[in-house]
Assembly symmetry: C2
Homo-oligomer: 329 residues x 2
Amino acid sequence: MHDSNVIIDGLQYINWDRPLFERARDSGINAVHVTVSYWENNRETISNISQWHRHFQNHHDLIMPVREAADILEAKRLGKLGIIFGYQNCSPIEDDLGLVQIHYELGARIMQLSYNNQSLLASGCYESEDTGVTRFGREAIKEMNRVGMVIDMSHSGERSTLEAIDLSQRPIAITHANPTFFHDALRNKSDQVLRALANSGGMLGFSMYPFHLKHGSDCTLEDFCQMIAKTADMMGIDNIGIGSDLCEQWEYSKLEWMRSGRWTFGADYGEGSAGNKEWPQQPGWFRDSRDIKNVADGLAQHGFSQEDVNKVMGGNWLRFFEHSFGPSQ
Amino acid sequence: MHDSNVIIDGLQYINWDRPLFERARDSGINAVHVTVSYWENNRETISNISQWHRHFQNHHDLIMPVREAADILEAKRLGKLGIIFGYQNCSPIEDDLGLVQIHYELGARIMQLSYNNQSLLASGCYESEDTGVTRFGREAIKEMNRVGMVIDMSHSGERSTLEAIDLSQRPIAITHANPTFFHDALRNKSDQVLRALANSGGMLGFSMYPFHLKHGSDCTLEDFCQMIAKTADMMGIDNIGIGSDLCEQWEYSKLEWMRSGRWTFGADYGEGSAGNKEWPQQPGWFRDSRDIKNVADGLAQHGFSQEDVNKVMGGNWLRFFEHSFGPSQ
């Protein structure tokens, strides 16, 4: 079934409506990993899923759910945008291992073990100490392996990430982050993590979120493609993709929810600061989904072969999802 | 795909363990509609489903989930007991229409609109006044029709049941009850209800729960088969099946939960009484699942043709489920 000529975005966080579904579909993107939950508990996450059910009913001509990798090819054939459900935190499973399968059955295919902070499963990248994968975390990794839900360590700490790579029997993902050699941010990943990820067959999705970019919003397409080329040298061409972290059409209050959830009554500025707290401005060459082809063009201009461009733009995610979604054979 | 030679029990409520799964499978029953929830809310019902996931893992050689009617034939082929998830009340959907599809995706295929008492959807058979299907109830019926979840009115009041039959665009079921002409109990159903049910293509499952039987635990097999014959004359041979309401291996405290839930701090004796409050004794010809073949033999001795025996023992349920589970074509 392999079709390397697909475009997959490994993470977006969008306040979706019909015009944005149309825009994303018309951009040539065949599937996108969407964020269904940050800090929402089981019940709240179910309400978010229910909202997606309304989207699927109301916009069935534009979008469809992706439950297995083959659905991405079906979405492409039908000219629709495939939607992959993912959670940026483990709050939907609360303290209950049984909720992994429950959320798998409700469509979740990717879950982060922690989001910036310590969770019940692992440490987050903003904690001063990373104590690694917890006792419950080890059980959750086994259960996610069993049902076929991808472990995502995008917002987790270094030690937790290395341990998750090691503990998981199936390759894991960092759906949206960049290498620290490109831009040294707490959210970006060390050479050690990237090498361990690649050695285990895992995937890195490159982020266009300005706080993850060298020079932020002023990062050039050439800078970005050079980073990809250097990472390909380090990780191999088969273990990298795009995870744009594109955020669109949200009020500032949603950014506050992402950053502060219910864990602080104060202000947390995440990757920003008190003087630079707003949603950042996208780089000019990736304003939104319509610009996804700029990235493909940029890679070609940088010297990537067409085959390698296809791998980075979606072929690698497709192959990874083929082996990751659902019980292992 | 039609195979009329299957045995299906339209309702059991069992404290399942491996010996009871073995017993039910060895009885020749191919599928059983099990009760996952009475008064449990969404979160509690999810924990009950999770417990079933453990059963499916631990006893995969004995049981399998039924999500479409074809799974029942697959269970028969594999020599396993097929498990159909159902709710005896609408408490799992709380006040949220979106939870119908959520629970459909988690496997629920049958839901009662009310259980003895007034619910958010309809009146129960023990209320002194039955005000019919509520505003939310009309929406829930439409949504259950859309996703393909069977409306069950076993414990609902007369008017609510007639209105549900009328409002539903797809045939409904009374999975476990008997005609009042046989035994006049609040839980049994009037001729008017049974005729309306049959005219709409719906199904009645005959109960062996002593409180639904003439002479209770002393009801004879011949009495029971005579009731079936008379009901077949009234409803037609294609609209009837078995819904034994077999309850096994529960403490008295579970009966209290079924009867009183959280809606009273006092004692409610349901179909029993203060002097007769315990789990009733099964009739001698149907002590448990192993005796299901007694019913088939009884029907044959009463004069039913083999074809008609097969219909009553499971063929009718199978055909009904083929048209009821999942979105309509």
